[in-house]
């Protein structure tokens, strides 16, 4: 399998196949991340697409880090901007979650236990939810999360710890964990 950076350079040179391969490799996890951060799967798709468009225009000077990390950085910043824009005009779908109806994002989760775990994660504070999404959903290392978010690595580790601790507690209360 061709390396991500080579794939990106080839795609920037106009190669459609390299572009499709890169897209297929990274799109699903990127949508998961942006959907979880914004709370909307539709917005998640839009932001993921926009992230790929920006990736195409990215001037590659050196292969520092991974293409995954670069994409996540672009997507994360777009997600934060979008969240801010949405909050200025209307409330997030907390109301949907509060009355028990599944949101469109939850409907994309087919397993019942997965849905309970997801709801618990979404009920965390914004900072904890975002860090946990980057760590558990997107699989980024602590160093990558620190670079993506601009948060010191010590704070990243601390937030992951408290987020996971809280999740485990809530899931024990709901009978998912013993």
């Amino acid at each position: 399998m061709i390396d991500d950076w080579q794939c990106l350079e080839t795609a920037q040179g106009g190669d459609e196949k390299a572009w499709r391969d890169l897209f297929a490799r990274h799109y699903p996890s990127l949508v998961k991340m942006t959907s979880c951060i914004t709370g909307s799967i539709e917005t998640g798709h839009d932001l993921a697409q926009e992230s790929f468009v920006r990736l195409l225009r990215f001037r590659i000077r050196h292969h520092t880090g991974s293409v995954t990390s670069l994409l996540s950085t672009i997507a994360y910043r777009l997600a934060l901007k979008e969240k801010h824009r949405i909050s200025l005009y209307h409330r997030p779908d907390a109301a949907l979650i509060a009355d028990g109806s599944p949101s469109p994002l939850e409907l994309a989760i087919r397993n019942d236990t997965d849905r309970i775990i997801f709801r618990v994660m979404q009920s965390l504070s914004v900072e904890h939810r975002e860090i946990l999404t980057l760590r558990l959903m997107s699989g980024h290392s602590y160093e990558e999360i620190a670079r993506i978010t601009g948060i010191p690595i010590g704070t990243v580790k601390s937030r992951v710890f408290y987020a996971v601790k809280e999740c485990r507690q809530m899931l024990k209360e709901r009978g998912v964990f013993k």
């Binding site: 795609a11 920037q12 040179g13 106009g14 459609e16 572009w19 499709r20 897209f23 297929a24 799109y27 699903p28 949508v31 998961k32 959907s35 979880c36 799967i41 798709h45 697409q49 790929f52 468009v53 195409l56 994002l105 994309a108 989760i109 087919r110 397993n111 997965d114 775990i117 997801f118 994660m121 558990l136 959903m137 699989g139 602590y142 580790k157 601390s158 992951v160 710890f161 996971v164 601790k165 999740c167 485990r168 899931l171 998912v176 964990f177």
Partner: protein, 131 residues
């Protein structure tokens, strides 16, 4: 034997302990079955959190912009040549300023126009122009 508390075991599983603490816990786990079982339980729960599946339909990727279909090297050379041509043209204009045009005139007297006082009326004709 001091058993690490639940928070320490969780931090160990999350790999957020510093190196010396981490080594100390690892050493304890190698000899304590009870803590080792607790650690396995924590790891199992972490793995479960990571397994949450969100079904994502993958659409077709955005199309490559037309300009990107030209090899980038060609686009860059085209840009360099265009800039070079423009600079060359501007330099040529600056080093070759417009000189004033000199017009030489010949004065041709006409006999019929000689006045009584002797002044002669002349017709001026532009003979040459030169830059």
């Amino acid at each position: 034997m001091t058993h690490p508390d639940a928070d320490t075991l969780l931090k160990f599983a999350l790999k957020t302990l510093d190196q010396s603490e981490s080594s100390s816990v690892a050493e304890h786990l190698s000899v304590c079955e009870k803590c080792k079982d607790l650690q396995q339980k924590i790891l199992g729960e972490l793995a479960r959190l990571e397994e949450v599946e969100i079904h994502i339909d993958v659409p077709a990727p955005p199309g490559l912009p037309r300009r990107l279909r030209l090899p980038l090297a060609v686009s860059r050379w085209a840009a360099v040549l265009a800039i070079g041509f423009l600079l060359g043209y501007m330099t040529a204009q600056l080093s070759d300023p417009v000189r004033p045009v000199v017009v030489q005139q010949r004065l041709i007297p006409t006999r019929a126009e000689v006045s009584s006082s002797g002044f002669v009326s002349c017709q001026a004709i532009d003979v040459t122009t030169s830059p």
